[in-house]
Symmetry: C3
Subunit: 136 residues, 3 copies
């Protein structure tokens, strides 16, 4: 029996329901849908890093990374990155931000697979990302 472990970075906002920001069981790690919320502040509601796609995408990626690292993992283990945008007009800009971010991460494994679709998100949020990782 392998333990299922909740991955809860200390700086993350409390989930709005009974779910974990991430879970790991054996070599499988799943990051829940992350959005561009800044680190939690006591007594303040979750607050996006800013109104722009750039601010929110970079904060979202940082939030995903924190969950991966909480599980002893990192971007090199990512198998699937699901990107949810609200507007097809954001695709080119998101790709630019995405590519620059991952270039800066200095990864050694090949990039993860990805699916990008356009959905509704809560008001003010422009991007949500979740990740499936397999540890080495």
């Amino acid at each position: 029996m392998t333990d299922k472990i909740a991955l809860v970075p200390a700086t993350h906002t409390t989930p709005p329901a009974r779910f974990s920001h991430g879970v790991r069981k054996g070599n499988i790690l799943q990051v829940a849908g992350q959005v561009g919320f800044l680190p939690a502040e006591e007594g303040k509601p979750p607050t996006p890093a800013g109104p722009t796609l750039r601010e929110q995408t970079l904060q979202t990626l940082a939030n995903v990374k924190a969950v991966l690292e909480e599980g002893g993992s990192g971007w090199d283990d990512a198998m699937m990155i699901r990107v949810y945008l609200t507007d097809t007009g954001h695709f080119a800009e998101m790709n630019e931000i995405y590519d620059q971010y991952f270039e800066e991460q200095g990864l050694t494994a090949p990039p993860a697979a990805r699916t990008t679709v356009y959905v509704g998100l809560p008001a003010g949020l422009l991007v949500e990302i979740d990740v499936l990782a397999v540890l080495g």
Copy 2:
């Protein structure tokens, strides 16, 4: 070679295409997108449990659970729960139903990760849920 096994609860409606309500291979179990259809009745088309978000969410969760159990698993093994809603205005109510449901399940493992996005669904359906589980 590990066998891939179809998980088809006896009470489930027949899928509208060539897919399985769930599959298990080794310790990986995937539940297909479940909706709030009542148990199948011979000669009747699939029928939602009711028009409300509450009725449909609870039936959907019951349908997911039946597939997990058909595979010798359960909610404690769930790694990722994907919730598809049609209306951002349903988020708070769904969370309330979700939390109450899982509280009643008396789980011992930490809660699964989750992503909730807002999409289109067939007319009359307000919620769809699929689940990835890793058996212990």
Copy 3:
């Protein structure tokens, strides 16, 4: 340490960002969201197989299959097939195309699980599909 391998069929168009059409690590294989683009032609932008749901769905399934095969896998290993459509009115026709396609594949394992939701996609694209596979 298991290697993570990028799966890049020679005929596929270059991804629009730093992601892989597929990755495999150990017995887990993830295919990125595929659309109905024809095989790449030097100096030409990615071009859909045609404007119809049938043309795009069949090309998309062929593109997914190429990635699976690049990883030493195939449809029999598919656990979860995620189908993204843009219009609920396409559900019946997609199911017909899907069923006929898989009938012709002559699979021996039970069909994969599936979730179909309705989202926005880039202009001109009617369907996108990604797949999680577990090798035997």
